[in-house]
Amino acid sequence: MEKMTEEQVKSIANMLRKRSLWMIHYCTGCGAMELPPTMTSRYDMERFGLAPYVTSRQADILLITGYLNVKTLRRVITVYEQMLDPKYVIGFGSCTLNGGVYWDSYAVIKQLDRYIPADLYIAGCMPRPEAVISAFRHLMELIDSGKADGYKRYKRNLAYYKENQRKVLG
């Protein structure tokens, strides 16, 4: 019985969480170009309770907008670790998936989820604002069903992630 109520509390919490997702305002790559249209009057993501926020402490979503340079990766990891649980990561664009057009570049990492756990990817270069919003909707569903557990995976497999990070950052 007691376990049931705990479950219920969790599901209510998830329901509230998915209604208010704050995205950290960090343009890591050129994908940041499609975010202003998404945020502003044409597509207006505030309809769904999504809003850009300024610092890592305040935010829930870390949106990796495009390719990640090794130099940026270091900052992204810091930002990710500064964020408070529960936190979610969305990989935006093909470059986060497999390097995209920068497959042969010496500066760009090829797989985001080796360094920080990604809950969701949006494919394409660049994904249109509609795709971004549909990804947010999908993330809401994942949160609602409790499947967006990237931050738990990060804690559980900390050694794996740290090892990968060390390899690339030196």
């Binding site: 950290i24 305002h25 960090y26 343009c27 890591t28 790559g29 050129c30 940041a32 170009m33 499609e34 202003p36 249209p37 945020m39 502003t40 009057s41 044409r42 300024v54 610092t55 890592s56 390719y67 340079n69 130099k71 940026t72 900052r75 930002v79 057009v101 920068y102 042969d104 570049s105 010496y106 500066a107 760009v108 270069c125 660049m126 249109r128």
Partner: protein
């Protein structure tokens, strides 16, 4: 005990235009030194281009400057055409002009929102980002993509304009001209805007020339230098337009110059549509794209971007891949030679709007 302290603006800070870091040293509220730290957007374009065919590079170059990708395509194509000795058809020239001006208008609309945002007026930001989207819709119609078009390519443009597109474009121009009145009322005539930007971050005429400024910074200081006039490319030599100049060289002048350039772009689009030959080829027949063996040589091709002179220095060794491509982005000079000097003595509250008024675009710096 030292009186000064250090503050990082960026990379994760809304006051910085993109992924870039600025280390400033402050004494009280006054900046005593500013150092830019680039490299967060370094993707090694110049290296990657050496390993790809000319046609493949076309997919890479728009990503050098995100807010206004078309200038890259135009400069790159011009460099290749220059080396191959290709003259592009008349209609293609006009289409290029229209596309470049549309991209410039979209970029200035975007810039306007960003600038108003740094001053704390979010209403204009919301409006202008929304209005910029109509330009992106027009792009989506001619090439299928909103941001990276890859529409201009060596020999002309990729395909002809879809039927009825000119009318839609004229509709957009008319709409933007109407909206400009709203923008003026809320922002450019706003007393607070004048109060915040008049006399801030002055770059005088002598300094602008000495530091190698281009584009709006130079025009705001009173020098009418514009690649479109001085070394006309595409169809600019057939068109009639003026280069706006102001004399103060402060943040306000730069903003007003950009606002007039936006109007200028809309006028140029109207003119170009009127003068454009209605029929004709849009692409000079070129060999099979995988066999573009560009003759050996070096060349420098430049266009006027929204920020200033944007150029490609291309070296070919006669094979299918470029031997070396060096990109000149206006932001490189504007950030490190101008902003770092201009920021000294300014107030912390002004730092972010000065950066935006100099229009520092980090992807251009890092490449």
């Amino acid at each position: 005990m030292s009186k000064s302290y250090e503050l990082f603006i960026g990379p994760n800070h809304p006051g910085i235009p993109g992924n870039f870091s600025l280390k400033i040293e402050l004494e009280g509220d006054t900046v005593i030194s500013a150092k830019g730290d680039p490299g967060y957007l370094h993707r090694a374009f110049e290296k990657a281009m050496e390993g790809r065919y000319y046609i493949q590079n076309l997919a890479l170059i728009p990503r050098i400057c995100v807010p206004e990708p078309d200038i890259n395509e135009a400069a790159y194509s011009m460099a290749v055409e220059d080396l191959m000795g290709v003259e592009i058809p008349e209609r293609a020239k006009y289409i290029r002009t229209i596309v470049l001006e549309l991209a410039r208008a979209a970029n200035y609309t975007f810039w306007m929102g960003g600038f108003a945002g740094t001053l704390g007026l979010y209403t204009l930001a919301q409006w202008s980002f929304g209005d910029r989207d109509y330009a992106l819709d027009l792009f989506a119609e001619i090439c299928g993509a909103r941001v990276y078009h890859m529409y201009i390519w060596p020999g002309g443009v990729r395909r002809d304009l879809p039927p009825g597109w000119e009318d839609k474009l004229l509709g957009y121009v008319k709409y933007m001209k109407d909206r400009l009145i709203d923008y003026d009322n809320i922002f450019f005539k706003n007393v607070m805007f004048k109060y915040r930007t008049k006399g801030i971050a002055v770059v005088t005429k002598e300094q602008a020339i000495e530091w190698g400024a281009t584009g709006p910074i130079l025009k705001a200081a009173g020098v009418a230098q514009d690649v479109r006039k001085d070394d006309p490319y595409a169809a600019y030599e057939y068109l009639d337009f003026e280069i706006p100049t102001l004399t103060d060289g402060d943040s306000w002048s730069r903003a007003m110059i950009r606002r007039w350039e936006l109007e200028n772009s809309l006028n140029i689009i109207e003119q170009a549509i009127k003068k454009m030959p209605k029929k004709g080829p849009v692409w000079e027949k070129m060999p099979n794209p995988l066999k573009w063996y560009v003759p050996e040589g070096e060349t420098y091709a430049k266009v006027e971007s929204a920020r200033g002179e944007h150029g490609f220095y291309m070296v070919s060794d006669g094979t299918g891949k470029p031997y070396r491509v060096a990109v000149r982005g206006a932001s490189h000079t504007h950030m490190f030679t101008i902003a770092e000097k201009v920021l000294i003595g300014q107030r912390l509250a002004d730092v972010s709007h000065i950066l935006v008024s100099l229009d520092v675009c980090p992807p251009e710096i890092d490449r």
